[in-house]
């Protein structure tokens, strides 16, 4: 550990909070139909889009109508992306496929499309060896925007369900939780596009590339012919982070120097990932009319986040038992930060890598700037723990907020009983219907992860995806478990080695996918994304027209320290009780032994 490392971490938290506060005001205005500083620029395109889509933004939707629109939009996006990726070879005339890549096989494409539509960005393919520029830009990047906006829309709808005061339950818009298309369009125009543009410019300034050129060929110092992949990187990189998507332009993701050139861009990229999730939580407090509610959630998330960062940083700076046993040099000395540098970039160092990977695994981003599988047992257990907590520590854009709100309702229910009142959250009673929806909404993701991992480990078709040359025993189990935890949580990061695609470098001729693994992963992502969304929207629908009771002395408060502790305890307990046995056989075994697998 170094002072500079800790300073980086605390500077990051400070800057993040300082940026999230003003952004939260902007978000509250965007979704509360207030005026924003972007109105002069965006109002006209916004209206034009509504006219083209034949949408009346003023007409509210019930939760069912909202959900129907959301599913229809996502399905259309899925089909379009599948079409683009499978017809990749037909678009060479545009000049946007200079390397003449053919399409990936159907099974890998199924996985990839499901992955990008669900904001997961799990990648069984290597970007620079599989995707044309057209596929990257018109296909994947479009979904980076769209899937992020869908997540935010769900969060905003749930906030409305909680915040809305309906004086007349029979009024025409009493059951309205907003208009999906309006939320979608405003998210993209007023939030994602402007910030993504600024970040892309900053990345280009620091050395990221943005071109349509043919890959560069040259002979290196060893006189070996090499190729350097090119492409419109910066524009895709910025939304990849901002939308907590995480799908890299290149296979090496944010470790690649064109995606993440310097220590400064590393800092900017981490901020970009957490910016909207953090601001949305604070905006939540504004939108329900009690900012302390937002700060309480922010506090709970921050405590868990800092805990994860501290464990990961200390573990990586300390090195693994195996490294110590082998007598490797892990102490910090002049000119070296020491610790476990395996799989890490020198320009980011241990703090920059540990922080980055916690940032992208607490959120559903999943971008990585270092190799998770090369982390120490305990350091590597941190991403597992983050995923086990169901991405509620800030979480994906929107996803994190609506997911933690389900946990909040659960905590309110248990805590509310213990103070002797029918539990209520911000004045609305939490009854059998809400608890049913909340319980199901919380269960789907962890159960999907466990179920898929069991199928994958128990079947020979599943075990075929494990590269037995480099992994066995607990390491192989970790890779498999992580693959499905990551896909179920729509994260997208990986403990490498587990694959669903055997591609060849070049024109991908002879490549083939692992159908079982591709389909299992694809369906895991789709189910774990859309089923909880439907439950979250149903909760919004159940709450929206509820009578609001004023808080009294007998009401359990949800904006103080006691509740934050209760909430953290419940999140940790649910995650731990669900995944402890599985984690035991993967990272925990590895953390307890000097044996290498």
């Amino acid at each position: 550990m170094t002072v500079a490392g800790w300073v980086t971490i605390f500077a990051f938290v400070t800057v993040l909070t300082a940026l999230a506060l003003p952004l939260s005001r902007h978000l509250a205005a965007v979704y509360g139909n207030g005026t924003t500083f972007l109105d002069p620029v965006m109002r006209h395109p916004e209206r034009l889009i509504y006219r083209l889509m034949r949408v009346d933004p003023a007409s509210g939707q019930s939760w069912r109508a909202y959900a129907r629109s959301l599913i229809a939009f996502s399905l259309a996006g899925w089909l379009l992306l599948y079409l683009i990726l499978r017809t990749q070879g037909l678009w060479d005339f545009t000049g946007l496929n200079p390397m003449h890549f053919a399409s990936a096989p159907w099974n890998v494409t199924f996985n990839t499309v499901s992955s990008f539509v669900t904001n997961t960005n799990w990648q069984y393919y290597g970007g620079e060896t599989t995707m044309s520029y057209l596929s990257q830009m018109a296909g994947l990047t479009v979904q980076n925007f769209a899937s992020a906006a869908v997540g935010i829309a769900v969060a905003v709808a749930l906030i409305r369900g909680i915040a809305k005061h309906v004086s007349d339950a029979h009024a025409t818009d009493a059951a309205s939780i907003g208009n999906f298309y309006q939320d979608l369009v405003r998210t993209i125009l007023y939030v994602l596009l402007p910030i993504a543009f600024v970040v892309a410019v900053a990345l280009i300034w620091q050395g990221s590339i943005q071109n349509f050129s043919h890959y560069l060929s040259f002979s290196g110092l060893a006189h070996v012919a090499q190729r350097i992949a090119m492409g419109p990187v910066a524009s895709q990189e910025s939304i990849k982070l901002l939308g907590t998507n995480g799908g890299g332009f290149f296979n090496a993701n944010s470790a690649h120097p064109f995606e993440n050139p310097t220590a400064l861009t590393n800092f900017i990229e981490m901020l970009t990932v957490l910016l909207i999730p953090a601001a949305l939580v604070i905006a939540y407090g504004r939108m329900v009319g009690n900012r302390r509610q937002g700060y309480a959630l922010y506090g709970a998330m921050m405590v868990m986040f800092l805990g994860a960062v501290a464990v990961c940083y200390i573990a990586e700076a300390h090195g693994s038992p195996a490294q110590h046993a082998a007598g490797l040099h892990t102490a910090a000395v002049n000119g070296s930060a020491g610790g476990n540098m395996q799989g890490k970039e020198q320009r980011f160092g241990i703090a920059g890598s540990a922080l980055f990977d916690v940032v992208t695994t607490v959120t559903s981003c999943g971008a990585v700037n270092s190799a998770l599988e090369s982390f120490t047992g305990i350091g590597g257990a941190v991403p597992f723990a983050n995923l086990s907590a169901s991405e509620v520590i800030f979480g994906g854009v929107g996803t994190g907020l609506y997911s933690i709100l389900l946990y909040v309702l659960l905590a309110v229910f248990i805590g509310g009983l213990m103070v002797g009142r029918t539990p209520e959250y911000i004045g609305k009673k939490i009854e059998a219907r809400e608890i049913k929806l909340v319980a199901l909404g919380i269960l789907v993701t962890p159960l999907a992860a466990l179920f898929s991992t069991a199928l994958a480990t128990a079947s020979s078709a599943g075990r075929a995806s494990i590269n037995t040359a480099i992994a066995s025993g607990p390491q192989a189990f970790s890779e498999t478990l992580y693959a499905y935890l990551s896909q179920a949580n729509n994260n997208g990061s990986a403990f490498a080695g587990y694959t669903g695609y055997s591609g060849l470098v070049g024109n991908a001729a002879g490549s083939h996918g692992f159908t079982f693994t591709d389909l299992l992963g694809g369906f895991t992502m789709l189910i774990a994304r859309f089923v909880p969304i439907l439950f979250a929207l149903a909760v919004a629908g159940a709450l929206v027209s509820k009578r609001v009771s004023p808080a009294g002395l007998g009401t359990m408060r949800t904006d103080n320290g006691t509740f934050v502790v209760l909430l953290i305890a419940i999140i940790v307990l649910v995650g731990a009780l669900t995944f402890f046995p599985a984690l035991l056989l993967g990272p925990i075994v590895q953390g307890l032994t000097g044996h290498l697998y």
């Binding site: 659960l410 229910f413 248990i414 805590g415 509310g416 009983l417 213990m418 103070v419 002797g420 009142r421 029918t422 939490i430 009854e431 059998a432 809400e434 608890i435 049913k436 319980a439 269960l443 962890p446 159960l447 466990l450 179920f451 991992t453 069991a454 480990t457 128990a458 025993g473 607990p474 192989a476 189990f477 009578r547 609001v548 009771s549 004023p550 009294g552 002395l553 007998g554 009401t555 359990m556 408060r557 006691t562 509740f563 502790v565 209760l566 305890a569 307990l573 731990a576 009780l577 669900t578 402890f580 046995p581 599985a582 035991l584 056989l585 925990i588 075994v589 307890l592 032994t593 044996h595």
Partner: protein, 678 residues
């Protein structure tokens, strides 16, 4: 707490309840029973030499686990049976008085009591049992209601007014009344009471349903966690037996709260009945814990109800003693509480009671026309009465009321009191200050309610000024003056529209609409049948402040459920640390048969793998009977504010639930491993 009969019956019932058709209603315990069944079958198969999947356990281990799983279900049944048994004991004593009576109809014919229908009119004379619930439509009688209230003093029941309701099974002690039956056969007060305390009519309350869903959800999670552990184990080269997997599942699912949930509900109802409150639904009991606003009638609830003399205020030139003497003489024949209170106050001036006969006094009673009363003694007229009536009388007789009189009368009225002017012939001697007295201890009760987060609103027909004075004195939060039934109803609707839960008590027919509108309406048993039917609870003691106890019972009900749920879930951590290291003790061991890396998780240092699993299951089972008293008594509610209450219960049941099983399982392991050699 438990009598022998109840215990014996409960033990038998706990076996009868093993019927899967009973268990399926409680998903958590159904899973346990299913596990017990599978384990038993596995044991029998092992005894006969069959080898089932993953079954490499010694038979003694399988049968021990099977036995304790059955015991777990039986303990859960026992909890429910105990709660039901205590209710049934009460029901039996109620039932014993529901003897077959023959009703005499108004036309002289007779009919069996259980054939009476709504609208039938029956005649009941002294010594007979009233054959069914109804309203007195003719006559007046003293009735012994001790059968339902436990109160032995007879009460008066008369036609008209607010004391007209009679309950079937109570006995008429004097006179003759005609009762119009207001019940259909089998739905009498007594019938409902019996089915309620027996738990037969028990329907799950809303919060109980919600909690049940949560527990089922948790069970589902653990079913998947445990089911997936088999392939995970096989991947790591560890074959986990059915018996051990089932043990892990049972240890993890929330059996503690699952086992006690219905006992808690039954016991809550029972606690209310013990306080002589009859709730017509469990929903109402639960709602009473949520009450935000309590409406209380001033008269008879907050104040004693009768205005009592508090001071004598003489006119100039008259001594207090003289005024007291005249006031006493004028009141000697007055049997109203006001009149008696004047005599009592006069005693403080050394004025003894005198015999009116000796004084040759003639009593002049109060009439609505004169609005005064008094006595004539040897031609001297002593009068006391409403201030303006007395002034009018004196002026009419040519007297001149003192200038100070009007001011004094206004001052007393302004302060919420009632001024009674006292006159001797045409001379006004002074004024008696009659005060509505706030009952003792009311302020503390309202402070208690405030600490619970409940606002009290006083309802009174008095004018604003009077109402305000009394409200301040009693310490209520707000008041509604010059109340009419319509205004009362409007106030309730207003509070409900603002999202508040409203409770109120009432007894009169004109209270019925408000009782029906309120979320919790407690009717007084002395009240009318209309009021009793409009409310959702009846207080047999007719004590309006009983609502405080009702609220406490409602809150206790929820707290107990929440606390035991927390305890149950927190227990799981220790159970993981007991069972998982036992399962994976030799997984990835470097030497064959040696300890693998995961054995370090055996933080409790349990003796052996079998003993660890058995200890966890034994602990899991024993916790249920140990917590039966808590679930029957309820976790105490303290009016210390929600925050402090939450912290307190989190510490006791959350942290306690985390720690307790570490200790308990270790102790059981010492016994099982070291003494019994498992």
């Amino acid at each position: 707490m438990f009598s022998g009969d109840i215990a014996k019956r409960a033990v038998i019932d706990s076996f009868v309840k093993l019927d899967p058709r009973v268990q399926i209603r409680n998903p958590v315990m159904f899973v346990v029973e299913l596990g017990a069944l599978i384990t038993s079958v596995n044991w029998i198969a092992a005894v006969f030499g069959a080898r089932l999947l993953g079954s490499h356990d010694p038979a003694w281990y399988t049968v021990t686990i099977a036995a304790w799983l059955w015991l777990t279900v039986i303990f859960a049944n026992l909890a429910e049976a105990f709660a039901e048994g205590r209710g049934r004991a009460q029901a039996n004593s109620l039932r014993s008085m529901r003897q077959q009576t023959v009703a005499t109809m108004e036309d002289g014919s007779t009919r069996q009591a259980d054939e009476l229908r709504r609208g039938d009119r029956v005649v009941v004379v002294a010594g007979e049992l009233i054959p069914g619930d109804g309203t007195v439509i003719q006559g007046i009688a003293s009735v012994d209601e001790s059968a339902i209230t436990g109160e032995s003093a007879p009460v008066i029941r008369e036609s008209g007014g607010d004391r007209s309701a009679v309950t079937g099974g109570t006995r008429v002690l004097s006179d003759r009344i005609v009762v119009e039956i207001t019940q259909e056969p089998g739905q009498s007060f007594l019938d409902r009471m019996i089915s309620l305390v027996e738990g037969a009519a028990r329907r799950k309350t809303p919060n109980e349903v919600a909690l049940g869903i949560l527990l089922a959800g948790l069970s589902l999670v653990f079913v998947v966690v445990v089911a997936t552990l088999r392939p995970f184990g096989l991947f790591a080269g560890t074959n986990i037996s059915d018996t051990t997997l089932i043990s892990l599942l049972v240890a993890l699912i929330p059996t503690t709260i699952g086992a006690l949930l219905s006992a808690i509900g039954i016991a809550g109802m029972d606690r209310l009945v013990r306080r002589n409150v009859l709730a017509l639904s469990g929903r109402a009991v639960e709602a009473s814990g949520d009450v935000d606003v309590l409406l209380l009638d001033k008269t008879g609830t907050i104040t004693i109800g009768n205005r009592l003399a508090s001071e004598f205020l003489p006119m100039p030139g008259v001594s207090e003693a003289e005024l007291a003497e005249v006031a006493q003489l004028a009141s000697l024949a007055d049997e109203t509480p006001e009149g008696r209170s004047i005599v009592v106050l006069a005693k403080q001036y050394g004025i003894r009671g005198r015999d009116l006969g000796e004084l040759h006094a003639e009593f002049v009673p109060f009439t609505a026309q004169t609005r005064m009363s008094g006595v004539d003694i040897d031609g001297t007229r002593l009068r006391k009465g409403a201030g303006d009536a007395v002034i009018a009388m004196i002026t009419a007789e040519g007297g001149r009321p003192p200038a100070e009189l009007r001011a004094l009368i206004d001052r007393i009225a302004g302060a919420g009191g009632t001024p009674l002017a006292v006159a001797r012939d045409n001379q006004v001697l002074g004024v008696i200050h009659l005060k509505d007295t706030v009952k003792e201890g009311m302020r503390q009760r309202f402070d208690q309610l405030r600490a619970m987060g409940i606002r009290t609103i006083m309802i009174t027909g008095d004018n604003r000024l009077t109402a305000q004075k009394i409200a301040e004195e009693a310490g209520v939060d707000d008041f509604l003056a010059e109340a009419t039934p319509e205004k009362k109803l409007e106030l309730i609707r207003e509070q409900q529209a603002a999202g508040r839960m409203v409770a109120m008590t009432g007894d009169g027919t004109n209270d019925a609409p408000a009782l029906a509108q309120a979320d919790v309406g407690v009717a007084m048993n002395t009240g009318t049948q209309a009021a009793r039917e409009a409310g959702n609870m009846v207080d047999l003691d007719s004590n309006p402040t009983k609502l405080i106890e009702i609220v406490e019972v409602g809150k206790q009900l929820l707290i107990t459920r929440g606390a035991l749920t927390t305890f149950s879930i927190a227990n799981d951590v220790a159970k993981y640390f007991a069972i998982l290291p036992a399962i994976f003790v030799s997984t990835y061991a470097t030497t064959r048969g040696g300890d693998g890396p995961l054995h370090v998780l055996n933080v409790m240092n349990l003796g052996s793998a079998h003993s660890a699993v058995i200890s966890a299951i034994v602990f899991n089972a024993l916790v249920i009977p140990l917590l039966i008293p808590v679930s029957l008594r309820g976790v105490p509610y303290r009016p210390i504010g929600a925050g402090a209450l939450l912290r307190r219960n989190l510490l006791i049941f959350g942290l306690g639930g985390l720690m307790a099983p570490f200790v308990g399982i270790k102790l059981i392991d010492l016994l099982v491993h070291n003494l019994l050699g498992a």
